[in-house]
């Protein structure tokens, strides 16, 4: 039985120690790996121009996501992000589903990143003449090290993310400057390499699926809501600075890669930015982008552990899951049980599932989450108009961003259905089953009055 220390605190909670730079690092850190790899499969689906159109359409989608998120989360400053927003604005069943979308999207992305780290180590070993490297110890080490870091405290975790994300972003900028601006005889050959759309406009539609990779995860900034010093200022600032960073990084990535590689090769490259650096002929750039690839992957996995554990923790704290998960470490002030619980799940998927299936599971969960956001935003403004609650940020042109986001989500569902229809149907069926479990069984354990904590006025019309 537990012994209570005489110096034990009566209450423990998460610590407010983060600033806007950490929020930026959390959002960009999760996403930037998508610039280093993954986005280029959009080129394979529809050619280089299709990937550029997908880049900008997805950029529009995620700008809407960032603006909507910034407004709502500057008001709902609690761990759980979109889960907590859904709980207060839409209702418990929506919140339960959104919480699961978040946990699955981030845990699967963490597993995909760990697989990628194993692949990168194997690639480096092969380049140095060692064939047949066992990737498993490096996959396991990546997950265990980052889980340990997350366990020990959020400030160190996101400061680590800040350093390696800034390095990875700087590497993209340096690659662009070195190949397009600072050299007299640029190696970029857009005039020779660019072609018309090889599969027509259907190819552009199909490219949308991988166009999400440029920005997937920026909405993760909201999970820091309970740990930033000034949520109303830091969250909108970090999130909007993050999407601007990603728009720049995505466009530069496309520009450099499309100018160095024919679309037939680029569309199936494993590490396109690293390949671009190799084709530039500079050893320094090759080393820089190699380290950038590794850092971007680590930063993504790091942010995913942080976000998935906050969502799981928040659901436990509200008794949507066993309250045991709602524990906070008294010394490190982290949701330590949620962090540890998700480690074996990430390991199982990283060691036992194929990468494309893991990525697809993550993207589909993210897409379901994005579909919730415009509905959430419209309900938020309708129930609590601008003059009823003070917001840290008010996004412009409402409801246009919400409607644009809803339309783009519909388009992306169609694109995903073209390539991964079975997985999409299976996933929706899964969420229906767990919703029934929550409605008919789990919700009886929830303290219904205690779950709504925001000091808001009664919603309009109620």
């Amino acid at each position: 039985m537990a012994n209570i220390s005489t110096s034990a605190p009566e209450k423990v909670g998460l610590l407010r120690v983060l600033g806007p730079a950490h929020v930026w690092a959390l959002g960009v850190g999760i996403v930037l790996v998508g610039e280093y790899m993954g986005w280029n499969f959009a080129v394979g689906k529809g050619g280089a121009y299709a990937a550029l159109i997908a880049c900008w359409f997805a950029g529009l989608l995620y700008t809407c996501v960032a603006m909507i998120d910034s407004e709502v989360t500057s008001t709902v400053a609690a761990a759980g992000g979109q889960y907590t927003q859904a709980k207060h604005i839409v209702g418990p069943l929506m919140a339960f589903n959104v919480g699961l979308y978040l946990v699955f999207a981030y845990t699967m992305l963490e597993a995909a990143n760990a697989i990628t780290i194993g692949f990168l180590m194997d690639a480096v070993a092969t380049m140095t003449g060692h064939e047949g490297l066992d990737q498993r110890p490096f996959i396991v080490l990546a997950i265990m090290f980052l889980a340990w870091l997350n366990y020990r405290g959020v400030l160190a975790t996101l400061t680590f993310s800040l350093v390696i994300t800034a390095f990875a972003f700087s590497a993209v900028i340096v690659l662009f400057l070195a190949t397009a601006v600072l050299t007299g005889d640029s190696p970029l050959r857009h005039a020779d390499l660019m072609t018309d759309l090889p599969y027509g406009w259907v190819g552009v539609l199909a490219a949308m699926h991988f166009g999400l990779w440029y920005y997937l995860g920026i909405e993760g900034t909201t999970q820091a809501a309970e740990e930033v010093r000034s949520p109303a200022r830091s969250l909108p600032f970090g999130t909007l600075a993050g999407i601007m960073t990603l728009l720049i990084a995505a466009t530069l990535t496309w520009y450099v890669s499309a100018g160095l590689m024919p679309w037939e090769y680029l569309g199936q490259a494993g590490v396109p930015l690293f390949d671009a650096a190799r084709l530039s002929g500079s050893t320094l750039l090759m080393v820089l982008l190699g380290i950038g690839t590794l850092f971007a992957t680590l930063a993504s996995a790091n942010g995913c552990i942080n976000d998935a554990s906050r969502a799981w923790f928040a659901m436990g704290r509200d008794h949507y899951l066993p309250s045991w998960f709602g524990a906070v470490h008294p010394t490190y002030r982290t949701p330590f049980r949620a962090i540890v619980f998700l480690v074996p799940i990430a390991l199982i998927f990283a060691l036992g599932a194929p990468l494309d299936q893991v990525i697809t599971f993550s993207i589909l969960s993210g897409l379901l989450e994005y579909t919730f956001m415009p509905i959430n935003m419209i309900m938020f403004r309708r129930k609590w108009p601008l003059d009823s609650i003070k917001r840290g940020y008010v996004h412009p042109f409402h409801p246009i961003p919400a409607l644009v986001l809803l339309t783009l989500c519909g388009t992306t569902y169609f694109a995903v259905f073209l390539g991964y229809g079975t997985q999409l149907v299976a996933m929706v069926a899964f969420y229906i089953v767990v919703s029934l479990w929550f409605h008919f069984w789990r919700y009886r354990f929830v303290n219904r009055g205690a779950q709504f904590t925001m000091p808001w006025p009664r919603p309009k019309g109620y």
């Binding site: 407010r16 265990m144 540890v340």
Partner: protein
């Protein structure tokens, strides 16, 4: 055995060490503190505490 074989063993060893630290600390924490303290975090309470400190 080349450097990469050594690195494989180092990676396994480091993974075990990180796992050991987490599990050891988890056990100690669960033993030292009551369940009421560990699960005492409440949504929105940080705001209330901050307001208290300002007053």
């Amino acid at each position: 055995m080349d450097i990469w074989n050594v690195l494989e063993y180092v990676a396994w060893g480091a993974s075990v060490l990180f796992g050991f630290f987490i599990l050891y600390d988890w056990f100690v924490t669960n033993s030292r503190y009551s369940e009421e303290v560990l699960t005492s975090s409440r949504e929105g309470e940080l705001e209330a505490m901050t307001e208290d400190q300002r007053n």
